[in-house]
């Protein structure tokens, strides 16, 4: 259900697996943007705690919506612009459940899973600062 790995993300294979026997599949893919001068992005994570946090998010989604499958794939290590950082996929008999659960998972992943991004621009590396909009997006799913 959860993969945290330095390997590139194969979205076609992920979608194929989600599609088995259901009516609706929603997905989100986050990619390294190259439009602001970034030449490399490195993802650091907290091994073990990361997987637990993602498993817990997936379990929350499955408790809240009627899902037949959930996949969260997060890449770690160095990446270049255009490469996929994260894939979230949800499958359900109903499109509303698939779409909402997909949005829930990526919003909450941004604030609840121990990943840290470091950007390289030219010779300079900087740690990415968290954004207040991410906290707001995650907060709308709390009831």
């Amino acid at each position: 259900m959860i993969t945290v790995s330095p390997a590139p993300i194969d979205v076609a294979a992920e979608l194929d697996a989600l599609e088995a026997g259901v009516g609706a599949v929603a997905s989100f893919t986050g990619l390294v943007r190259g439009d602001d001068g970034v030449t490399e992005l490195e993802l650091e994570h907290y091994p073990g705690a990361t997987e637990s946090a993602l498993e817990q998010l997936a379990a929350e989604a499955e408790a809240r919506w009627n899902l037949s499958a959930v996949r969260i794939v997060h890449r770690v290590g160095p990446m270049t612009p255009g490469e996929r950082i994260v894939f979230v996929g949800t499958a359900s008999a109903h499109r509303g459940a698939a779409l909402e659960a997909c949005a829930f998972l990526i919003d909450r992943l941004k604030t609840d899973a121990p990943f840290w991004k470091r950007e390289t621009r030219g010779g300079t590396t900087t740690w990415v600062e968290p954004r207040g909009t991410d906290d707001l997006a995650a907060a709308r799913w709390r009831r």
Partner: protein, 85 residues
Amino acid sequence: MAVEMLYFAWVRERVGTGSELVDVPGEIDTVAALLDWLARRSERHAAAFADRGRLRAAIDQHFVPLDTPLGRAREVAIFPPVTGG
């Protein structure tokens, strides 16, 4: 009490290591007190922990506020707010 400290992102860089085993005195009762104690022992730790508002913590891989009692913690991680996804 033996505690495995883990540091991530710029906290790791400022402390100068990703992990260290420390023997925490019994009177150190919360994560915040643990940070104070580590900061008194080394300038690198003091610099890494200076801005508490930018620090987050986990005890035995569960995210907790800094004022959480250490209890029988075996692993304490200190890191900046997360930025994945």
